[in-house]
């Protein structure tokens, strides 16, 4: 704890000292730019990693001291979509990060673009639904300039979210990231499997974030609209992608919940049995665990309000 604070302080001072992004400026459309005014761009790669305090989180190592009851878990899944990525200019304002078209990890259509961050490698407890390939970066281009921070949303834009996963290309074709009951996508899928004794109330602790209270079916020619979009906004005012990464910190994310679930002898009524079968949060507005989990993600459960998040923080590369 003490050492992680120290590291944090060092990271913060580093960030203060190096406000500009060190990246190679490249000329956009070098050939097509003949006769036109050339807009200089620079590449940017925004890297993510997963930590539990200061310890890296992966599919193979137990994750200890998690949640209100300090339990040990095994990572079973860790994927989330990132969209609406912007770099914050020095002195104010922001620019959109333009993704390089579509690839295994990126998809762009019109004004909507999304990147899948996949921090599980299909090993260990991630074997059930995981994949071998991983992706820790949002890569794109921004106009050449001086940037000091980053802003993004852990979500899929509506225009891309409510689409047919059997018809969409990567990274929107994954069944694991499907949110079939709302005909959309899981924005975030983090799953922890039982890693210690006594036995958990549910073998797996789920965190599935997605839009809810949706109506309208694109497959029937209607426009999908969700009363609770559950799209957060993460703003990291001081972030240098060349030297830093964005960590999703399980210590903060799961800090307010008991991942092992309520123990059976706490006098819970049988009415809670359904909840016990399925530990965690699947974005239901009456889920007791969703409220603290959503709060760390900058969402106020059951509303469209966005608040400050604590799940993501800037760390050294």
């Amino acid at each position: 704890m003490e050492s992680s604070k120290k590291i944090g302080a060092i990271v913060a001072s580093l960030a203060l000292g190096l406000l500009t992004i060190l990246a190679l400026p490249v000329a956009a459309d070098a050939q097509a730019g003949h006769g036109k005014k050339k807009t200089k761009t620079q590449k940017v790669a925004i890297g993510f990693k997963a930590l539990n305090g200061s310890t890296p989180v992966n599919c193979s190592q137990p994750i200890t001291g998690l949640g209100t009851t300090s339990r040990t878990a095994k990572l079973a899944d860790l994927r989330f979509y990132v969209s609406d990525v912007k770099l914050l200019r020095k002195g104010g304002g922001s620019v959109k990060v333009k993704l390089p078209g579509s690839s295994k990890w990126n998809y762009t259509k019109g004004n909507s673009a999304v990147t899948l961050i996949d921090l599980e490698n299909g090993a260990g407890a991630c074997v059930a639904e995981g994949t071998n390939a991983t992706n820790a970066f949002v890569r794109g281009k921004v106009p050449k300039g001086k940037y000091v921070g980053v802003r993004y949303s852990v979500s899929v834009p509506d225009a891309l979210s409510h689409t047919d996963l059997t018809a969409m290309p990567a990274p929107l074709n994954l069944t694991a990231m499907g949110w079939s009951w709302q005909y959309g996508r899981k924005f975030m899928k983090i799953e922890l499997s039982e890693g210690d004794t006594p036995a958990w109330a549910s073998k797996i602790y789920y965190l599935h974030v997605g839009s809810t209270d949706c109506t309208g079916d694109p497959a029937a020619g209607e426009k999908a609209k969700c009363a609770l979009p559950n799209r957060n906004q993460v703003t990291l005012k001081k972030f240098n992608p060349a030297r830093q990464r964005i960590a999703i910190d399980f210590k903060n994310l799961f800090g307010g919940v008991n991942i092992a679930g309520e123990s059976m002898d706490m006098g819970m009524g049988d009415d809670m049995s359904g909840m016990m079968d399925m530990g965690g949060c699947m974005s239901a507005t009456d889920s007791p665990d969703c409220e603290p989990l959503f709060k760390t993600l900058g969402l106020k459960l059951g509303t469209t309000k966005k608040t400050g998040q604590t799940a993501f923080r800037v760390v050294r590369k």
Partner: protein, 406 residues
């Protein structure tokens, strides 16, 4: 008895001067306005997505077909076989028909189904017959308004697992399908425009087309509407109670398929209806059992607690047990619960008087029905039973037929 409720036009049922046949026809006409029907008939001729002979029963309108999935014979045939094909599940043990058996009007006779990997599902398997007319799918979900999108749930869902198709096995399952000579011959013909004809996209569309093709109305009641059968006196009396203000059943089961959410080509867009019918009132709080709380699970609004879709009653005598969770065993029990204005559970974890559920639909106000009335309503409901789908080659298991020939 509907006291304090706004009087509705056409309370003809209160008077017994009208014959039950006139009542029934009037009800059918109510559901399908004559003008809308006239319009859509001409539209249907132009529409390329209706290259299909629906053979619509009397009073049944033209089904709505998504422009992205036109009907044709080849596609329906592929979907028919896929619907019964256990190779479509991850571990090869289940097909769509495992929970939608033709002999049970495409339900499974269980309280709630069990998925291919052993997960127990929370809700009773609904029929897929006449699902072409459904406005929403599953028991309470306004987000699922097409067969195509609904199918993502049983295919890819993981909480609970039904067919168990995942990112790991989805390619393998398609290869199983590709290896089959029957499919190999047909997929490229039907999906000529596809680079990869055997795809999940086309699998989903084929099965949807087959399900959409299950439009039938062969029941005694349907034949009665077409002047081809007579109802016995108890059945007539039951019909009159059902359609009238005594029974009040028609408010939620008054359409041509006896639901209140049906749609068709050219249908007006109406507010979606879901009802709390007073089946539970756990601890007197108005709650339904956790994990089975209906529309509330989608909207998070207390008023939607326990609200579910009113299902079609065609074949209702074959689709026991009843209600969203299969918790009511017989038709007589169902009628008793509605007559009481809700179900009382006297002990156990779900104890409470459903009749006093604060979120209950005001239409479920309790009905004064004699023993004879109840028996007659059930007699009428039994006239809604269709010919056994497992004996109709358009709908029956194609794998069984093949086995017989050998």
């Amino acid at each position: 008895m509907g006291r304090g409720r706004k009087k509705e036009p056409g309370r003809f049922a209160a008077s017994r001067r009208f014959t039950s046949r006139a009542l029934a026809l009037a009800a059918a006409l109510l559901a399908v306005s004559a003008t809308a029907f006239g319009l859509q008939a001409s539209e249907a001729l132009k529409a390329p997505n209706n290259d299909w002979n629906w053979a619509l029963p009397q009073g049944f309108p033209q089904p709505r077909v998504p422009a992205s999935n036109p009907m044709n014979r080849g596609k329906v045939a592929i979907g028919h076989r896929l619907f019964y094909d256990t190779r479509l599940s991850g571990n090869g043990t289940q097909s769509c028909s495992s929970c939608h058996l033709p002999e049970l009007a495409f339900t499974d006779g269980k309280t709630t189904p069990v998925g291919s990997t052993g997960d127990v599902l929370p809700r009773n398997a609904p029929s897929v017959a006449n699902s072409a007319y459904h406005r929403t799918f599953t028991w309470a979900n306004p987000a699922l308004t097409s067969l195509e999108s609904q199918m993502n749930v049983p295919l890819f869902g993981t909480n609970p697992v039904e067919m168990g198709v995942s990112d790991k096995n989805r390619g393998k399952i398609l290869r199983r399908i590709k290896r089959d000579r029957w499919y190999k011959k047909r997929f490229p013909k039907v999906f000529r425009w596809s680079k990869k004809p055997v795809s999940w996209f086309n699998v989903v569309r084929s099965i949807s087309a087959f399900q959409r093709s299950i439009v039938t109305g062969t029941s005694k009641y349907n034949r009665f509407l077409g002047d081809k059968a007579n109802l016995a006196s108890d059945e007539r009396r039951g019909l009159s109670l059902f359609m009238g203000e005594e029974g009040e059943c028609h408010h939620c089961h008054g359409s041509f398929i006896f639901d209140d959410q049906s749609t068709y080509a050219g249908a007006p867009v109406e507010r979606l209806k879901f009802h709390n019918t007073g089946l539970y009132n756990v601890g007197g709080t108005g709650a339904y059992p956790t994990g089975n709380q209906g529309l509330y699970e989608i909207t998070g609004k207390k008023k939607d607690m326990g609200a579910f879709r009113a299902p079609s009653l065609l074949n209702v005598a074959r689709t026991a047990p009843y209600m969203h969770d299969g918790s009511v065993k017989t038709l007589m029990d169902v009628v008793d619960i509605y007559a009481r204005g809700g179900r009382i559970i006297t002990d156990g974890p779900y104890a409470g008087d459903g009749a006093k559920n604060p979120h209950k639909d005001p239409l479920i106000s309790g009905i004064n029905l004699s023993e004879q009335d109840r028996r007659d309503i059930v007699a009428f409901l039994k006239t809604l039973t269709e010919k056994d789908y497992s004996k109709d080659p358009r709908f029956s298991d194609p794998f069984k037929k093949k086995n017989k020939r050998k």
